[in-house]
């Protein structure tokens, strides 16, 4: 009973003609929530009815409030026959349940019918009065905030990251119920839509409960998916990362940084990151660092051995399963090394058998082999550091985290970018797949079986992470592919070591203060740091250099879990790094990179015999390892071909069909400065006798070399290798040394000696022993380069590009390809699939040519095999233009806009310096260290950083001010959308700028931006209004009349966009961030002139303000700011 939902139906417009005789409609509305239904009066003979109803009130449990959508049905009154439904609107009222999100839903919402699409609009007002009763036993979780964004949302600060939350609910699919045979398609579709709405609500509520249990108040990186299993049911499952978030308030510096578009900017309030300037060398200059490195002294001696003890047995025992299903790291230098060569296939049979380990069992097993390695560590840690000043507390904190992580069933994080200082080391990609038979589920209506399946996979992921010496998995995601009764479950993530800072109780400030105090310890600790060597990778609280630290291997180099060549970090020369790094996360904002990045895709098709049941499952699981292996080889080849050495945002999708398997791996390649440069690709022929053959080979070799050279040029990859070779100095950029402290020179010399060992870089050898290999090489070279002025990536932002303008264009493109020729070879299929993707990309470039120079960001490809002989590829991405001129006409603005780590780093450094010794701050930036200018940044970048810091303070006060006004602003926009609410008393300047923004459009429809990214360039997100999670079905029985399949899908996607925009506008928002189309299931039957499509989209509704408007707002008298600040108080 603790909630009162109120709804008012105001008016309708553009209604369809329902009465052919009069060409008009007698419309009325049914408002339904739970089991209560209200009706408006009939508004006769109008296509633009004005109901202006009373407030319909529903008194309901908050549990229901979370689960149920408000259902509004518009009908045409008919005196003699049944009333005809015009369409429905489902309103998710969840955003209204959170005090920090929206307070009212008001605006024009499209009336949707699953057969006819959008049929007019309805203007509604929805409010919720919640009564507080926090202390009773709760089934509801009102107030827990949900974010799709996979980073800490812009206007929040993470107090604590609690960890993984997951939930899964199952229901019978209405489409497969017996009743479906006698009901209309419309009724069936609506039943399905409503069910999924209900299930999502329930899922969200349950996850919310888990979050509350953990002590959090928000879920970040919320990823909800549904599996249409067919006969066995409909599964809605979600994963996310529970956090405790705090709205950024009074602290001015924090405010600026958090709200800034780059997550890295909150560096300043992170004590760990702050001290370490760029790269390792300068860490010693900072007192803070020495304090903490001193702390780690205690562990350095004993821990490694302990770890070995823990790792070795585990290693052996888990070798087989690991090889079976996963590839922990794709660091293989030569193809054909263990992972692919001998995957013990027999074991795989086990995966699809209905065997499922019970929870308790799996937990036990994990503790037996994994916790061994870590629990003693913490013990040692506290012991070792006892007696050191400031040590005990710190160690205690660490111990807490460590154990906190251990206690968690799954130390997984769905985040892909992190508050700086959180991510210490990255081990590599871990993934697990499992093939299941849906018709083997004993109790299809209960979630247990699926829970057990995922449990299995997560355990596997967890143990893979352990094998990589990591205690956490970041950038974690799960997916399924279903074909008939076979289901492939996949999970992947990046093994990593995280800092405890966000995982312990209490605000960060404790540590902040703590780490800053002991200026005294600035000497002596350097040696310790040096001694520590590889122990740095053990996951303790050692200070990690921000630019390269995350590349340092977390595992033990003497016991590498896979073959890889380790070298000393090219950036700091202190720790070992692998030669190639694959991750599923975004490029850390503070990472040092050379040149620009680009999208790299590996595409693969494998034919498979048609089979049934277990035979089919076995066949599929036999194919999987080869598929994955080839995808990785392709990725590796393409990476090298582009002269790069690391992949970010790696997403491997495997889709299963009746007669084939599709694999698509997308990632963004970059050149990490810290990693060694990639060797070239060497081609070797098997039969050297033939001269023409030799020539052929050398031709190909030449082509490849040319391509590499061209790519290096294209992506501006010119690592400072040469300097290194000649000078023999471990530090790539000589200039920076001058800024470093002389005392350090000895230690760096030492390192240089060590360095010699890795000198040569083996070229990657491709053997051409059969036609397949030739084809493969050809395929390598057929990837056409992006046209002039275009860049592409599948991560949030393009490494090496800045100066985004405010022009963004989000789009979805779908292609379905029919393979008419059934007898295709694998090679033929590969080519077709590859061409399909390439052509799609080319089309996108062409479409968006007016935005040049621009970058396609977050290119998210989804492949599916909707039926035999059909391949479907869907892409959602955003095109963002940028200023080619790197000239910063306005220091402030560009400082704001740009996201590159180059600037960030400069900022951070600068600000840190500012904090420590303000006098020198102005001298510093110019002499700021690092081969940054060479590393693809630009001398000009330094100038704005000076400006920026001053801008920061100013900005933060506006943010405050604006945050307070967010509510008001929202009202304002609602007013313009609906003309329903009275104008709110906005301050003059504000309201004017808002109005100008809208009146410029000269229309009553507010512009709503959509982007798959978590930010909007050139703008600040000032409020999150809640999650958007919508599911639609569209069906037609007049496919030809609607323009064929393309016409049908085109209008459906446009309708989905329109509905998302309308709901966001009704919440008072003007943008959707982290938008994604998670499902697009398209089925057609051209012979029957029918088609059906299901689309599921999600994102975060936000209010953003243009930075230019912010500046305009700054003209406002300061007094406003102050009063509002005082008023807020939180």
């Amino acid at each position: 009973m603790p909630g009162k939902l109120k709804a008012k139906i105001v008016a309708g417009r553009h209604l369809p003609v329902m009465d052919r005789a009069s060409d008009l409609t007698d419309a009325f509305v049914e408002v339904k929530f739970g089991n209560t239904t209200y009706k408006t009066d009939v508004y006769p003979k109008s296509l633009n009815p004005q109901w202006n109803s009373e407030w319909f009130k529903f008194e309901v449990d908050d549990e229901d409030l979370q689960d149920e959508p408000l259902q509004i049905t518009v009908l045409d009154h008919d005196t003699y026959s049944a009333n005809d439904a015009i369409g429905k609107v489902y309103i998710d009222i969840d955003p209204l349940l959170c005090s920090e999100a929206a307070t009212v839903i008001s605006g024009w919402l499209p009336i949707y019918d699953t057969i006819h699409g959008i049929r007019g609009e309805i203007n509604v007002l929805v409010k919720v009065d919640l009564f507080n009763d926090l202390n009773r036993f709760r089934q509801s979780s009102c107030g827990v905030k949900f974010f799709c964004t996979t980073s800490i949302p812009r206007c929040y600060r993470a107090i604590m990251v609690h960890g993984f939350v997951e939930e899964l609910v199952v229901n019978e699919d209405p489409e497969y119920q017996w009743i479906d045979r006698i009901r209309t398609p419309r009724a069936s579709n609506e039943a399905r839509q409503r069910l999924i709405f209900l299930m999502s609500g329930e899922l969200q509520r349950k996850i919310g409960l888990k979050v509350l249990e953990m002590g959090g108040n928000a879920v970040v990186g919320y990823l909800q998916c549904f599996d249409l299993e067919g006969e066995s049911g409909l599964v809605v499952r979600a994963i996310g990362t529970a956090c405790t978030l705090e709205k950024i308030s009074t602290l001015p510096s924090t405010a600026t940084h958090q709200s800034n578009s780059s997550p890295s900017k909150d560096m300043k309030d992170s004590p760990q990151a702050a001290p370490s300037t760029l790269g390792c060398r300068s860490t010693h200059s900072s007192p803070v660092h020495s304090a903490s490195s001193r702390l780690s002294q205690g562990f350095s001696v004993s821990v490694p051995t302990l770890l070995f003890a823990g790792m070795k047995p585990r290693h052996r025992s888990s070798e087989a399963p690991r090889a079976r299903q996963c590839r922990p790291v794709f660091g293989e230098e030569v193809p054909g090394i263990p992972l692919s060569s001998g995957p013990p296939t027999p074991l795989r049979a086990q995966t699809f058998s209905s065997f499922s380990p019970s929870k308790s069992y799996s937990r036990q097993s994990s503790s037996s082999d994994t916790e061994l390695s870590l629990t003693p560590k913490t013990g040692m840690g506290s012991g070792g550091s006892a007696g050191k000043e400031a040590g005990p507390l710190k160690a205690l904190l660490r111990q807490q985290t460590q154990s906190a992580l251990e206690q968690r069933e799954y130390p997984f994080f769905t985040l892909t970018s992190f508050p700086s200082g959180f991510l210490l080391h990255v081990g590599g990609v871990v993934s697990a797949r499992s093939v299941k038979l849906l018709d083997r589920i004993h109790n299809p209506d209960e979630p247990e079986t699926r829970d057990a399946w995922w449990e299995e996979i997560r355990q596997e992921i967890k143990s893979h992470a352990k094998a990589l010496g990591c205690h956490a998995v970041v950038g974690y995601s799960e997916s399924t592919s279903i074909c008939e009764e076979v289901c492939i479950l996949s999970a992947s993530g990046t093994a990593a070591i995280l800092s405890s800072r966000f995982m312990q109780d209490g605000p960060l400030d404790t540590e902040h203060r703590l780490s800053r105090q002991p200026l005294v310890f600035s000497t002596g600790s350097e040696r310790v740091e040096g001694d520590m060597g590889s122990s740095a990778s053990l996951g303790f609280e050692e200070v990690v250099p921000p630019g390269c630290g995350f590349c340092h291997i977390p595992y033990d180099e003497l016991n590498i879990p896979f073959p890889a060549q380790l070298t000393y970090c090219y950036s700091c020369r202190r720790s070992k790094v692998p030669d190639v790094l694959f991750t599923t996360i975004d490029l850390p904002a503070d990472a040092n990179i050379t040149g620009k990045g680009c999208l790299i895709q590996a595409r693969l098709c494998r034919t498979k015999k048609k089979a049934q049941g277990e035979g089919n499952a076995t066949a599929i699981s036999n194919l999987l390892p080869f598929l994955e292996y080839e995808l990785h080889t392709q990725l590796m080849n393409k990476l090298k071909l582009r002269g790069m050495n690391a992949l970010f945002g790696l997403r491997i999708q495997i889709s299963v069909g009746e007669t084939m398997l599709l694999g698509l791996a997308s990632a963004t390649g970059v050149y990490l400065t810290a990693l060694p440069g990639p060797g070239g690709i060497q081609i070797a022929g098997k039969t050297p006798s033939d001269i023409t053959y030799e020539q052929h080979i050398s031709n190909m070799q030449k082509k490849i070399n040319d391509t590499i050279a061209k790519n290096k040029d294209l992506y501006e990859i010119n690592p400072p290798e040469v300097v290194e070779e000649i000078i023999g100095s471990p530090i790539p950029e000589p200039r920076q040394r001058s800024r470093l402290f002389r005392s350090q020179s000895e230690s760096s010399d030492e390192v240089s000696e060590l360095d010699l060992s890795h000198g040569k870089k083996d070229a990657f050898v491709l053997e051409i022993d059969d036609t397949d290999a030739v084809e493969d090489i050809h395929a390598l070279l057929t990837d056409s380069p992006t046209p002039q002025g275009f860049y592409s990536c599948n991560t949030e932002i393009m490494p090496g590009i800045q100066n985004w303008t405010s022009a963004i264009q989000m789009f979805t493109s779908v292609r379905v390809f029919r393979l008419n020729n059934a007898n295709l070879t694998n090679q033929g299929l590969n080519k077709i699939f590859s061409d399909l993707c390439e052509n799609l990309l080319k089309s996108l470039y062409f479409k968006l040519r007016s935005m040049v120079p621009c970058c396609l960001c977050h290119l998210n490809f989804t492949v599916a095999i909707p039926e035999d002989e059909l391949i479907q590829v869907a892409v959602t991405a955003v095109a963002m233009s940028f200023d080619k001129e790197q000239i910063l006409e306005n220091g402030k603005q560009s400082g704001e806009k740009t996201l590159t780590k180059a600037i960030t780093e400069n900022d951070e450094q600068l600000q840190f310096n500012l904090e420590l010794n303000p006098e020198s701050s102005h001298a510093n930036p110019l002499s700021s260290p690092k081969g940054l200018s060479e590393v693809g940044s630009h001398p000009s970048a330094r100038a704005p950083s000076v400006d920026y810091s001053s801008f920061a303070d100013r900005c933060s006060s506006w943010i405050e001010q604006l945050r307070l006004k967010a509510h008001t602003i929202r009202r304002g926009s609602v007013k313009t959308t609906s003309s329903m609410e009275k104008a709110s008393p906005l301050p003059e300047g504000r309201s004017r700028s808002l109005r100008s923004n809208r009146s410029y459009s000269g229309t009553s429809v507010a512009v709503v931006k959509m982007t798959p990214l978590s930010f909007i360039p050139g703008a600040k997100i000032i409020k999150y209004l809640g999650i958007i999670n919508m599911f639609f079905i569209r069906e037609t029985t007049s496919l030809r009349e609607e323009g064929g399949v393309s016409g049908f899908l085109h209008s459906f996607i446009a309708e989905v966009f329109a509905m998302v925009r309308a709901h966001v506008a009704a919440l008072g928002g003007n943008a959707v961030v982290s938008y994604s189309m998670k499902e697009c299931v398209f089925m057609e039957n051209p012979n029957k002139n029918q088609a059906q499509c299901l689309i599921n989209v999600s994102g975060d509704a936000v209010i953003f303000v243009r930075e230019s408007e912010l500046e305009a707002a700054s003209v406002q008298p300061q007094s406003t700011t102050h009063t509002s600040n005082g008023g807020e108080g939180t």
Binding site: F817, L819, K847, L848, T1003, V1045, S1046, A1054, A1058, R1061
Partner: protein, 357 residues
């Protein structure tokens, strides 16, 4: 092997002006692709013919989906389906409602009926404007006609508001509606030398001065019909030619004023009575709907052609009409000054506009 489905949907609807024009001009997708290839987009953007085809198909689909909104441009602004920036919306509307002068010249003054629409293939063949495009233009005329027919208030303003057209285009549509409503004959051979813009100008004059709305904008009736009362009054002007004294007096006044000022004085003097009779007879007959239709042909036959054969220049014409109009006011027995001014004002500007080769 074929692409079965291929769609691209942007949050902001992407529309290429060039493709839009091709679509409006009635090109098929394949023809449009050819034109685009010749236009050199491919080289510009490193695209292939496939890419171009896919893009063109996509755009055509978008336009087709937009078309029903374009039929009610006001809806385009508050629909939710397509997010189109306002300047783009304006462009879409303007171009959709733009027409070919050649085409409009063919149907100007014709009844906007199904019958006329059936004959559009002839018009298409004659003008070289594709049939698709002809149909669109014709439907636009008809749609605008239907909407404003029923509306009160100034015609141009109504069109501008309902169809969100720029001023000039709204005026042109007003002319088309006005012509269609009054069924002015424009297709006769003698009138073929006149362009649409000539007629549009005349229509503007008629609308502004001879309709009811011109006198009283608050009136029930609208701009589309001529002021009946005024037409009735025009009969009174007949006195200028029926009264012999008045005619002579008028002639001498004009001749006095023009003597030495024009090179065609003699021709003018000789023809004066004919010309005057022509103009006044047109006025007197306008009360009959049939004669209204022949208004322009009459002007040409009765006045413009005689003058042209006498090789009057436009300056001569202007001089004559000015003095012809003014002198009538000096005639003491002539009482219908207001009607005369209202009539001659329009006649003068129309003739001046129409007097060219």
């Amino acid at each position: 092997m074929s692409v079965e489905l291929d769609v691209f949907v942007g949050n902001t609807t992407i529309m290429d002006k060039e493709v839009y024009q091709l679509w409006l001009n009635g090109y098929t997708v394949n023809d449009a692709v050819k034109v685009r290839i010749e236009g050199g987009v491919m080289e510009e953007c490193e695209a292939s013919a496939d890419v171009l085809l896919s893009d063109t198909m996509d755009q055509y689909r978008t336009f087709q989906m937009c078309e029903r909104l374009l039929h009610h441009p006001a809806k385009l602004a508050n629909q939710l389906l397509f997010q189109i920036p306002p300047d783009r919306q304006a462009m879409l509307i303007e171009r959709y409602y733009a027409f070919d002068d050649l085409f409009v010249r063919e149907v100007l003054g014709k009844k906007l009926s199904k019958g006329t629409k059936k004959d559009l293939d002839d018009v298409s063949a004659k003008t070289g404007v594709s049939l698709k495009s002809c149909r669109r233009q014709f439907d636009n005329f008809k749609r605008v006609f239907k909407v404003v027919e029923e509306l009160k208030g100034p015609l141009v303003e109504n069109i501008r508001q309902h169809f969100l057209l720029p001023d000039q285009l709204a005026r042109d549509y007003a002319a088309i509606v006005f012509f269609a409503n009054n069924r002015f004959e424009t297709g006769k051979k003698k009138l073929l030398y006149l362009t649409f813009q000539d007629f549009a100008f005349c229509a503007g004059q008629l609308i502004n001065h001879w309709t009811l709305g011109a006198v009283d904008s608050m009136m029930e009736d609208m701009d589309v019909d001529l002021d009946k009362e005024f037409l009735q009054d025009l009969k009174d002007l007949k006195i200028l030619i029926t009264d012999k004294d008045l005619l002579d007096q008028h002639k001498s006044l004009v001749c006095t004023a023009l003597r030495g000022k024009t090179s065609v004085f003699n021709e003018m003097e000789a023809n004066f009575k004919n010309l005057s009779r022509g103009l006044v007879n047109i006025a007197a007959k306008l009360i009959n709907a049939k004669d209204v239709r022949d208004f322009f042909i009459d002007l040409v036959e009765k006045f413009i052609e005689p003058c042209r054969s006498d090789k009057w220049t436009s300056i001569d014409m202007n001089l004559f009409l000015t003095h012809y109009t003014n002198s009538a006011h000096i005639l003491d027995t002539f009482k219908h000054h207001a009607v005369w001014t209202r009539y001659m004002g329009v006649i003068k500007s129309c003739i001046l506009r129409m007097y060219h080769d």
